[in-house]
Amino acid sequence: MYAVFAFVAGLVFGIGLLVSGMVNPAKVLGFLDLTGRWDPSLVLVMVGAIAIGAIGFAIAGRRTTTVLATPMLLPTARTIDRRLVGGGAAFGVGWGLAGFCPGPALVALGAGHLKAIVFIAAMVAGMLAFEWIERMRARSSARLEPAAGGASE
């Protein structure tokens, strides 16, 4: 049941991306081109999503279990550090280069666009590089300070 609801959420999310026009990289780049001929559509996508999201997450945040009686696993992290800002900035550069972020690129892949498949393959390679770098760092720090004990995540 849990996976069925995840599928439905993904499907509805994808339909929302398609209706909003945000699966189209040309439209996203039109929004990011502030000093050119600017397309403000993405602002209204955020307004629509956050208006609904703010109400829904306020309700979800007060619950300790889901409707399916599984535990609520909403994030609790609060640290704002170099990783968060630097990672966000690196993502923003990639987003600005292609006009793709992960969700729309997966929808475009489903629509059969070869360029989206290439983008997703490169994105997965970047994520695997992250896993590898973090494992190497955890291993070398575990060797340097045996008391500190490995990875944090």
Binding site: A51, C101, G103, V107, K115, M123, G126, M127, L128, F130
Partner: protein, 143 residues
């Protein structure tokens, strides 16, 4: 700044945004999780992934969405101007950046901002600023 009134689609943007919001809320209420797409993909790339079924199911929903959409609305507008080398560089940056930054436009931009998470507000400002700067550089400085 001049607004491109021919490209601006306020009503479909608002409606699509609301549907995205509904999806995020459904996922929070039924699955108890934030609909962060980079995190959902990233979780499949770890050495052990006991929770792969719901992750794969969510991503399958995203991938099937254009097939369902096409039945009612025809093929979506989708213009990918970037060439293959740019797509590869952009993809690697998006992959690395979203994992180091713990999220993307969905997890931080939609869900995190909806939850008024200070972390997500900072991340969203960071990727928006970098996105604006990158398009400014590629469209107005380098050409």
């Amino acid at each position: 700044m001049s607004i491109d009134w021919t490209a601006f689609t306020p009503w479909s943007a608002l409606a699509g945004g609301a549907i995205i919001g509904v999806a995020a809320v459904l996922f929070a209420l039924f699955n108890g999780r934030v609909a962060g797409i980079s995190g959902i993909v990233g979780g499949l790339l770890r050495p052990s992934f006991p929770d792969w079924t719901w992750r794969a199911a969510f991503l399958a929903g995203l991938i099937v969405a254009p097939i369902v959409y096409r039945l009612f609305a025809g093929p979506p507008d989708l213009t990918i101007e970037a060439g293959y080398p740019t797509l590869v560089v952009a993809g690697i940056l998006v992959g690395l950046g979203t994992r180091y930054g713990s999220g993307c436009t969905s997890g931080h931009g939609v869900c995190g901002v909806s939850r008024l998470s200070p972390r997500s507000l900072v991340a969203t400002l960071a990727f928006m600023a970098a996105g604006f700067a990158t398009v400014f550089a590629t469209r107005h400085l380098l050409i």
